[in-house]
Point group: C2
Chain length 224, copies 2
DNA sequence: CCTGATAATATTGTATACGATTTTGTTGAA
DNA sequence: TTCAACAAAATCGTATACAATATTATCAGG
């Protein structure tokens, strides 16, 4: 994206990575205030860096900003989760369809390898599963040949690493791996339509499953 | 989006509208430099306002910004046009599918009315046609029930009003109106799948037509 | 006249300072 | 006690000032 970075921008990205992690790991809970001067102090960075980072997080939907009131971790609602998953599933599905055409042999090998690792995984190792899952989709995004689409997907994909999203994962891993296998098979046959449909349902399915799970297990009040 | 606006933000939006118009009307040509202090003077607004506006235009893909070199109108390439149309067609198609479910009767009437006006239009009146076209899609975006999706689409839709994009319009109006009619029919039947597919092809088709047109008529050098 | 080096100018990047707004704390009357 | 009114403090928003960088102009040597 940015060919050359200034020191300022590098600092912003550092803060960005840190804050994302703090938010989606659950260290910062929804509605928690993010005071600029505090953050500036704790990251030993100027307040402008923090402001820039917060503005970016706003576009990712992770924080809300109100004039003169400041930033806070965005509250999560079933509605916002659905909105995100819908967008992500559509974009990622489309990207996969595009990738079916231009996929290089080494990319396909890479995907097969990822799926194999996933199948061999300890069913409780959610963290590693999440990493492999990310790798899988990242590979496809790169291969789709639409740079702008890739950037867009990445922005929305941060969402899926939210702390509570992992809650529903253990029961999904087996299903997920099967779906990945089907996607790889479709890509191998260069069946763009099928690959696209599979991924779309794959992601939206994960979303639906998650939302059901949340409705049952979440203490009221955290969700919106 | 923004519940409350500060005076600063209002000024930013004013500049934003003006600059978008200047760019996509052709007043500012690709690669033209956008010097902050000049713009600040001509809009009688602080330089910070300009900077904020330029940053936003960057996310819309209308301008490029390089550190210490400043902003310039983004050069257009066939590739970037294709990327934009792909994204837009997918998102708008999906939104239409969603809208099929939740469309209110008055929205449907509204759409029918727009199409009727379009059919009665003087084939040379590209400006009015563009306006109606925008109305048509805006109505659908609002009815889709996914706020975030609507925002996203709007960001990418600015692109389609680029000055040279209108060049290919006259030969397209008849086709376009027919396609709109088909979409309305699908919506009336609440056939989400069909509405989605129609819109997707509708927009991507417009994109393909445009790109063919540009390859033939554009003086080399303006395109990238 | 060209070319490279250097100085002068123009332009952008950002830390700082200060005004605007919200939030918190205090006080006194009902 | 509870509440409203006001004051004080905290926090945010942004214009300004200056530093960093890029661009243009100048000029000496070939």
């Amino acid at each position: 994206m940015a060919e050359k970075k200034t020191a300022f921008q590098a600092e912003v990205e550092k803060v960005l990575r840190a804050l994302r992690k703090e938010i989606y790991s659950g260290l910062r809970l929804p509605r928690e205030r993010l005071v600029e001067s505090d953050l500036a102090l704790s990251f030993s960075v100027s307040r402008m860096v923090i402001r820039q980072a917060l503005a970016t997080l706003k576009t990712e939907g992770l924080v809300e900003i109100a004039p003169y009131k400041g930033a806070s971790v965005a509250p999560i609602s079933i509605k916002s989760i659905r909105e995100n998953y819908q967008i992500l599933s559509v974009l990622e599905g489309f990207a996969t369809g595009l990738a079916a055409a231009g996929l290089r042999p080494e990319d396909l090998d890479n995907l097969k390898n990822i799926v194999k690792q996933q199948r061999a995984l300890d069913p409780g190792d959610v963290k590693e599963w999440q990493r492999l899952n990310q790798d899988f989709h990242r590979t496809i995004e790169k291969a789709c040949g639409n740079r702008r689409l890739g950037e867009l997907i990445r922005r929305y994909a941060y969402f899926t690493t939210y702390w509570f999203l992992a809650l529903s994962a253990p029961g999904r891993i087996a299903v997920n791996v099967k779906e990945h296998e089907a996607v790889v098979k479709a890509l191998e046959k260069k069946d763009a339509e099928k690959a696209r449909a599979l991924v779309e349902r794959h992601i939206m399915g994960a979303g639906e499953h998650l939302m059901e799970h949340l409705k049952l297990t979440m203490p009221m009040g955290i969700l919106q």
